[in-house]
Amino acid sequence: MKAGRTTAEAVIRRTLDDIAYTNGALNAFTAVFSTQAIDQARDLDAAIAEGQTVGPLAGVPFAVKNLFDVEGVVTLAGSKIRRGAAHAVRDATLIARLKGAGAILVGALNMDEFAYGFVTENAHYGATRNPHDLARIAGGSSGGSAAAVAAGVVPLALGSDTNGSVRVPAGLCGVYGLKPTAGRLSLDGVFPFVESLDHAGLFARTVADLALAYEVLLSDPTSVEAAPSLKTAVLWGWFTQGASTEVLAALKTVGVALNADFGLELPGAEAARSAAFCLSAYEGARLHMADLKARPQDFDPSVRDRLFAGALLPDAVADQAHRFRPIFQQEAARMLTRYDILLAPVTPRTAPRIGEASMVIDGEAVSVRKNLGAYTQPLSYIGLPVLAAPVNRPGQLPIGVQIIAAPGREDRLFAAAAHLEAAGVIAAHPPKDFA
C-alpha cells in the first residue's frame, strides 16, 4: 500500500467479496460491517496519500468472535437472548488496539452460545463448517474465527478461550491459535463466560502474523527468533489417553523436531480438567441465572441443560475446584523449571462430522461436545500460555499440537513455533476448496 501497488479500499473490497462468496458454505460470519470497513479503508488511503505514518497492520482486514463489543452493534455472544441488548457504546479494547495499528474490522463471527462448547453448532445461527471438509465441524467455541482464517477470508481474527475455545478450533481448522498467559490480553468489552478461566486469544495463518498481531494487542515487542535449543518435553499420560494413532504420530513428529524428551506425565492433569469442567458449569450458571429463571426456552438446548446442571452443583464442589488450582500450578511449575517447552495434542482426533454426538475414545463412546477439550482444559485452568500449531499434513484433515510454556514466556512459544515452521514441521495449508 505504501508503495502504491494497491489500496486499503481494494483490499477491503476483495475481502468483502470473499466473505460474500464463501459464507454460504462456511457460515463463519454473523455480521459484516461493509460500510464502516470501506470508510476506514478510504481514510487510511487518504492518510497514506498525505504521507502520514500508518500502523504496522495498516489495511489488514480482521474479524472478531461475536462476543467482542463493536461500537454500535449488539454483542450477541452467540445467543438469541442478547438480540434485544443495548448496542455497544465502544469497541472492545483489543479491537481498538488493532484498529489503532491500522487494521480494519470487517465482521463478527459465529460461536457456540455464550462460548460454552467446542463445536460451533449453534442452535440459533447454525453450524460453522470446517473449510477442510464442509461436512465437519470447525470446532469451538471460536469456530467462526478459525474457519474464516483457515479459508483465507481474513488473515487475522480474535477469539476467546476459557477451556480451549481458541486452541480446539485452531487445531481442527489447521491454523495457528494463541491463548496467552491469563490476564495478558485485555478482556475489556468481551462478554464473559467463566471469570476465573476466561482468556482472549487470536488466530493467524503464519507464526509471524500471529506474533505481529500479538505485539500490537499487547503493546509490547515480541520475539520470534527461532531457537531450536529450547529444552522440550512431550506430555504423556492424560494428554495422550484416547488420542488417535494419527494424532500420536503428529505429536511425535513435532517432538522429534524439537529433540524432546518423551513420556513425561503432568500429575493432576485429569483432576485439573475436572475442576475446569465443574467451574465452567458453576460460574456460567450464576452468570446466566436470571435468564435461566425467566426464559430458559430461549437458550440453545445443549447450553441450557449444562447451565441448569451447573446451577445445581453444590458450592462445596466449586470450592474444591478453586482449591486444587494452586496445587496443580505447583506441579506444572516444577515441570516448567526443567523444560522450556511442553508439547501436547490439541484434540484426541481430527474434526468430527457436523451432528456427530459421540466419538470413541479408548474403546468407549463419549460425548463430542464435552470431550474435544480434554487436553486443553487443564492448561487454561492454570492460565499457562499455549500456542496451538497446525502439523504439516497437506491434503489431510488438520491436527494441532499445543506448544506450552511457563507463565509470561510467550517468547518461547513463538521461538519454538518459528523453528518448527522454518523446518517445515508445522504449516497452515489452504483448504483445497478455498485455495
Binding site: 475442576a275 465443574c278 441448569f308 453444590p314 462445596a316
Partner: protein
C-alpha cells in the same frame, strides 16, 4: 438453603440425584420443566463424575483406572 458437602453429593445414586435436583432447583428459585429434566440430570451426573475425580485427587489418592474419560 440445601447446603451439602461435596462428599454427600458424590454418594447420590441416580434416584437420589433426581430428588436432589428437584430440591436444589427449588432452593435457588429455578423451575426446570419436565422436558428439560433428562438432559439436566445427564449433565448433573457428568458433573458428579468430575467432582469425584477432583475429590479423589484432593484426598491424595490416584483416580480409579476406569475413570479415564468422565462422561
Amino acid at each position: 438453603m440445601n447446603l451439602i458437602k461435596a462428599s454427600e453429593f458424590l454418594q447420590f445414586d441416580p434416584e437420589a440425584l433426581d430428588v436432589y435436583c428437584g430440591q436444589k432447583a427449588g432452593d435457588v428459585g429455578l423451575t426446570i420443566p419436565n422436558a428439560y429434566r433428562p438432559g439436566v440430570l445427564e449433565n448433573l451426573a457428568a458433573l458428579q463424575a468430575h467432582a469425584e475425580t477432583l475429590s479423589i485427587r484432593l484426598d491424595g489418592a490416584e483416580p480409579p483406572p476406569s475413570r479415564v474419560t468422565p462422561p
